[in-house]
């Protein structure tokens, strides 16, 4: 399928971009950074194009749906959101360091989608329960949240590295700035995760007759939500900044990963994604 082929090429472009960001760190100066940015923009553009092709193809091979309805498609969309959000952040803070942490996430997700034999990439028709606009908004908002949390995770790692005296740490933005950006990313992710949980509940309400049934994926999304709520309150009211905040961003991301992948090994409704 054309979209899948294009996506496997994008995987290499992302890896190339990551490599350029790395070179940018080792050989500071204008060149590598600019190349890295344009490489990832190119990759993102092709990625977007591939998503559109796939969307079009769902009308050919099925009844037509936004392509975020199976595991393969969700990985592809996750990767797309991470790269897109990163590019936005880069343009806003005018610093390319986060690329070293974000691009590999985008790359790994896409590589897993494209090259793992256990991930089925064909376009499948939708079983009745999945034919719902609420489901589309649910998946969309959840993965935007995941992308924001992934960037926060990258920032958390960056914070720890920025603390150690080394060549690299001098290239990083100031720790205060990392800290502030980390907070903003988590706030953004929190809003989207909240939306994601609610739209998911509405969907479940119509499809399964119950807005909340404590299945493992639901429960873990709630746990993730609680961890980030903990972060926001700890920060706002007890002034958890710096290391504590960075550490919580790592814990939160571990929860995100478990919500996304880990729970597939526990029984429940959402396992249709497999």
């Amino acid at each position: 399928m054309m979209d899948a082929k294009l996506l496997s090429i994008v995987t290499f472009v992302y890896f190339g971009a990551f490599f350029c960001y790395l070179l940018h760190v080792i050989f500071p100066g204008r060149w590598w950074g600019t190349i890295a940015t344009w490489t990832s923009r190119l990759g993102f553009f092709a990625h977007t194009f591939a998503l559109l092709i796939r969307w079009r193809l769902t009308y050919v091979f099925s009844t037509g749906h936004v392509p975020i309805t199976n595991f393969y498609e969700s990985l592809v969309f996750f990767s797309w959101s991470v790269c897109g959000l990163y590019l936005l952040v880069e343009a806003r803070i005018k610093n390319r360091m986060l690329g070293v942490f974000s691009l590999p996430i985008a790359f790994l997700l896409l590589a897993y989608a494209s090259f793992s034999p256990s991930v089925e990439s064909t376009i499948q028709p939708l079983i009745p329960a999945l034919q719902s606009n609420w489901l589309t908004s649910h998946v969309l908002t959840c993965f935007l949240a995941y992308a924001a949390f992934s960037c926060a995770f990258g920032l958390g790692l960056m914070y720890f590295i920025a603390g150690k005296e080394s060549i690299i740490s001098r290239l990083l933005p100031q720790r205060d700035m990392i800290d502030e950006l980390l907070y903003q990313m988590i706030a953004l992710g929190f809003v989207f995760l909240t939306l994601g949980i609610f739209t998911g509940s509405v969907w479940a309400h119509y499809a399964w007759g119950s807005y909340w049934s404590w299945d493992p994926k639901e429960t873990w999304s709630l746990i993730t939500w609680l961890v980030y709520a903990l972060f926001l309150h700890g920060r706002f009211v007890r002034n958890w900044r710096g290391k504590k905040a960075a550490f919580l961003s790592l814990v939160g991301f571990a929860c995100v990963l478990f919500t996304y992948l880990g729970v597939n090994y526990l029984p429940g409704l959402h396992t249709y994604l497999r």
Binding site: A207, L226, H233
Partner: protein, 444 residues
């Protein structure tokens, strides 16, 4: 005594308690996904402790309810103690400063009436500008409603907790499998084995239909129902997945479907291309083969969708030539078109196996049952309202930025010296944008 009471209230209003409660909730959630959430029939040894701690039904346990109640109390006390300050900030009586900006520009003296120009620019950026005492100064504030955001979120969380409480205490949920032509009014609630609930109306399934994709996955299924109320009035309703119907406070969902064994098939029997017989059969039925009265045909199975290839019946022909067992598919042409050569490979699929006879499955009437879920959930509406409040509160909190700008100017020999001072309480980027907008508009 008074001391003790305020101390207690301080604890109930403290964020430390919030952090502890959120943490405990997360831990309960983790336990709830790793300890199977179904009541075991029997428990032994260490399991007994888990059982009495209600770890097998943790989300309806006393511990869980207790934490939720504590969280509600915590939110109420905390919000009440902090609301006055948030209100002062919202009214603009108290300014919170986290970020500061200061810029200075010079304008030629020809520029006149800076005051009204600055004021109108600030208004365009949604600043409120109370009349300033001095003629060379304008002060504006914007985005102050953001200060109320967290309180809106907290109010939403309270409504959410109330809604889920209503759902879990007064909600009714049950299932029923109903065949075509049947009428039921009892649902199994599943709280205890065999426990049922009697609905105030009857459900009659007139017809069940299911459509399939080419690969055999179900595409859509629907039940045509007739709901018969107490007063014998009835309503017709079509029920589909994702499109529940509502009856007297209950919602009925198309949850699943299944097949009872034994659909009814109409078989056409041919010799060469001449039709020699036509018969309606069910599973287990035996009939003599037309024109070969000694030979018996036994219907071994009727399948509505065998191996995703559509309806099929399995026949066994017992003749003096021996026993012939094979399947007769309804969509044999389609199967042959997509799998040429399959009949040679699998004799069992060949409807001409007992030559010169040839069987065609002309019609197939399956025997589906429809799986309905029936639910009454008095909390769902409240939960929906809560969701809207919470999302609204979050947007107010994070997408509105409280900020102030103060612009002063003085004559300096042959130009105006304009200073712009800004402060922001949550994020600085909006303020920065405002300042560059202002400078851009003033300079041109």
């Amino acid at each position: 005594m008074r001391h003790l009471r305020t101390g207690f209230i301080d604890i109930l209003a403290s964020i430390r308690l919030t952090l502890a409660l959120l943490f405990i909730l997360a831990v309960l959630g983790i336990i709830g996904t790793f300890v199977p959430q179904e009541k075991p029939d029997e428990v032994f040894g260490g399991q007994k402790i888990l059982y009495h701690l209600q770890m097998y039904d943790i989300f309806h346990s006393y511990i869980f309810y207790f934490v939720m109640v504590m969280l509600s109390i915590n939110i109420i006390f905390c919000s009440l103690t902090r609301l006055p300050q948030a209100w002062r900030r919202f009214r603009g009586d108290q300014v919170q400063v986290k970020f500061k900006i200061r810029e200075e520009i010079r304008l030629p003296l020809e520029v006149e009436d800076i005051k009204s120009k600055v004021t109108s620019l600030l208004k365009k950026r949604l600043y409120k500008t109370p009349p300033a005492p001095q003629a060379t100064e304008v002060e504006g504030k914007a985005g102050l409603s953001s200060y109320l955001g967290p309180y809106i979120v907290h109010a939403g969380v309270l409504v959410l907790i109330a809604g889920t409480f209503l759902s879990s205490v007064f909600g009714i949920e049950g299932y029923a499998n109903i065949g075509e032509g049947e009428t039921i009014n009892r649902i199994e609630t599943g709280k205890k084995m065999g426990q049922t609930y009697t609905l105030p109306f009857e459900i009659h399934l007139k017809k069940f239909t299911v459509e399939f994709y080419e690969n055999g996955m179900p595409k859509q299924y629907r039940s045509d129902l007739e709901i018969i109320k107490d007063d014998r009035r009835s309503i017709q309703a079509a029920l589909m997945v994702n499109h529940p119907i509502e009856v007297e406070g209950f919602r009925i969902y198309q949850a699943s479907y299944g097949e009872k064994t034994g659909g009814e098939a109409k078989l056409g029997i041919f010799v060469k291309s001449e039709k020699v017989g036509e018969i309606k059969v069910k599973e287990g039925q035996k009939f003599p083969l037309p024109r070969e009265e000694k030979t018996r045909v036994l219907v071994l199975r009727t399948e509505n969708n065998l191996m995703h290839m559509g309806p099929a019946v399995k026949l066994s022909i017992q003749s003096d030539r021996g026993e012939f067992v094979f399947w007769v598919f309804k969509h044999i042409e389609k199967i042959l078109a997509s799998h040429p050569g399959i009949l040679e490979e699998f004799k069992m699929l060949n409807p001409r196996l007992y030559s010169p006879y040839h069987f065609i499955l002309e019609e197939f009437q399956s025997n589906y049952y429809s799986g309905l879920q029936v639910k009454r959930d008095p909390g769902a509406l409240l939960v929906g309202v809560a969701a809207i409040i919470i999302v609204f509160g979050l947007v107010v909190t994070y997408f509105i930025s409280p900020r102030t700008l103060k612009i002063c100017w003085e004559k300096d020999e042959h130009l105006w010296r304009v200073s712009i001072e800004g402060t922001a309480a949550r994020d600085i980027s909006t303020l920065k944008r405002d300042v560059s907008y202002l400078i851009g508009k003033l300079v041109t």
